[in-house]
């Protein structure tokens, strides 16, 4: 039998490719926020030439990569599974001849692949044209960045999957997802570079999966720190989160009671 997963990646890609006007409108938000965030970081660097190892070119590269990765990594919009758990539709998903977690990851990778073209490349180009963008010094960095971005999507999926699964216990995961929506940006390095935080906060965050979502791929691209260590951190968390997701899914499914059988 053919594996359904490559098909699911393609389906995820196509599903989002059909909303072209929405993607264009979304880009306008990314660009507006990119301009505002770049202005804030530039103002900080005007007071002190470098902060936390960031000079002007690294800072603007950070901003435009972050705005681009925003939709690729996707912190916020994924709440479908929790709704299907609440309504009970998840029974159908669990009954299909696939591994639910793998199927959802495949679809999410397809979605992210589409977002790379529609939402990552344009803000990056915008930054390259209008700002002192920092291009990687080594050609290999582009490849490492691609790997890191994929791992960032997997880690983000792992976090979202777990948060959505909380609906098995809470019935309504909206509160949990709302809290993640607010603190996620700060913990992952989307709002400010993590190296600008107080040392103690940085030390704590290094032990969490959060930097893997935004700060790590950006660090890889701007060639800050050893890429092997950075990618290893992402890989370890990807594995841990996917394993936790598996356990949580099995446990949660056991709680599921369906009328009539």
């Amino acid at each position: 039998m053919l594996s359904p997963y490559p098909e699911l990646v393609a389906a995820g890609f196509r599903r989002y490719a059909s909303y072209r006007q929405a993607a264009l409108a979304g880009l306008s938000t990314n660009v507006v926020f990119g301009l505002l965030r770049a202005a804030v970081l530039t103002a900080v660097l005007a007071e002190r030439g470098t902060v936390g190892g960031y000079d002007l070119s690294v800072a603007v590269t950070y901003v435009w990569l972050g705005q681009g990765l925003l939709t690729v990594v996707d912190l916020w919009s994924d709440r479908e599974l929790s709704q299907r758990i609440r309504t009970g539709d998840v029974v159908v998903d669990l009954g299909r001849p696939w591994d639910l977690q793998a199927a959802m990851l495949a679809t999410d990778l397809g979605r992210a692949g589409n977002a790379v073209i529609m939402r990552l490349v344009p803000p990056m180009l915008f930054g390259m044209v209008f700002f002192p963008f920092r291009f990687p010094a080594e050609a290999i960095t582009w490849a490492l960045f691609a790997v890191s971005a994929v791992l960032a999507v997997v880690v983000s999926f792992g976090v979202r999957f777990l948060l959505n699964l909380s609906a098995f216990w809470l019935l309504d995961a909206r509160g949990v997802l709302a809290v993640w929506g607010t603190v996620g940006g700060l913990l992952t390095g989307l709002i400010l570079p993590l190296s600008w935080y107080p040392a103690r906060a940085q030390a704590v965050l290094a032990w969490t999966p959060f930097p893997a979502l935004f700060q790590t791929p950006i660090d890889v691209f701007t060639e800050r720190g050893s890429p092997v260590t950075l990618l290893a951190h992402q890989l370890v968390w990807a594995v841990i989160l996917l394993a936790l997701g598996r356990v949580a899914l099995t446990r949660g499914a056991r709680r599921l009671v369906v009328n009539g059988g």
Binding site: Q21, T29, V32, F33, A39, V44, W196
Partner: protein, 265 residues
């Protein structure tokens, strides 16, 4: 007559939200945290530098307090306008057009999200703390500015959002364009406009009057010269700007309604 209808509608919306107390409390907390995140970001920035765009930490926090209170009040009262694309798509807006009531008030009272009070609380808390701890030379005029600024700021933001959401009358999926104005304005008004380049600054001073939400009132309260050398009268101009913005938004809304042709299916 119409007023009492709205009073009843709004009262019923509020009652319905208070029915689920636990869920409501959680929602308020999420809004509170959401608004506080930006303050946290400002505080982190000031661990690295002593001033931003020529203003020190307490001065930027004052601007944040003014901006956040105004944003919270605007979000509480007209935040519902963000749902316009949804109402147009489902055809519910067409129903509103048929009722003998104004379309904008109907839309705004269709769902009053009381949880947004969380944002007002954060903003007002920071504002009061700022006004109490900053060394402000209080005069009757400054008291007036401090009292009016959150309200005029809210009117300016509300007018901007209503005007921005009117794109939905022309574009099918204008939601993201409008939300870049909504949330962009929340972010942009929390910082002194001196940090923005000349282009962005002109846009925020004159095209989109964001600078009158927090920056100019803060200058009036602090009694310090404008680093940009803009005329002193501007710092007291927020009420006038608010009135003009509200009228402009009303006109844009009307012309939007006139152009509106329904979704066609």
């Amino acid at each position: 007559m119409a007023e009492s209808v709205y009073a009843r509608i709004v009262a019923s919306r509020i009652r319905s939200q208070l029915a689920y107390r636990g869920s409501f409390a959680l929602d308020v907390v999420a809004q509170l945290v959401g608004q506080a995140i930006e303050l946290l970001a400002i505080l982190v920035l000031f661990t690295q530098v002593g001033s931003l765009g020529g203003f020190d930490r307490s001065e930027v926090v004052l601007m944040y307090g003014l901006a956040a209170t105004a944003f919270g009040l605007a979000d509480l009262t007209v935040g519902q306008v963000e749902q316009l694309p949804e109402y147009i798509r489902t055809g519910e807006f067409d129903v509103m057009l048929l009722r003998p009531l104004g379309t904008l008030p109907q839309l705004l009272s269709a769902d009053v999200a009381l949880k947004r009070i969380g944002r007002v609380l954060v903003g007002a808390g920071v504002l009061v703390w700022s006004l109490a701890t900053l060394d402000i030379n209080w005069t009757p005029l400054r008291v007036l500015v401090a009292g009016l600024a959150p309200v005029t700021g809210a009117v300016i933001l509300a007018a901007m959002w209503v005007a921005a959401n009117c794109v939905s009358f022309w574009l099918v999926d204008g939601r993201e364009v409008a939300s870049s104005v909504t949330y962009g304005s929340n972010f942009a008004t929390s910082y002194p406009i001196t940090i923005y380049g000349p282009w962005l600054r002109r846009l925020m001073c004159f095209a989109v009057p964001g600078a009158f939400v927090a920056y100019f009132p803060a200058l009036a309260l602090l009694g310090r010269p404008d680093p940009l050398g803009l005329p002193d009268a501007l710092r007291y101009a927020s009420p006038v700007v608010a009135a003009v913005a509200a009228i402009a938004a009303g006109l844009i809304w009307r012309s939007g309604i006139r152009h509106y042709q329904g979704t066609g299916s």
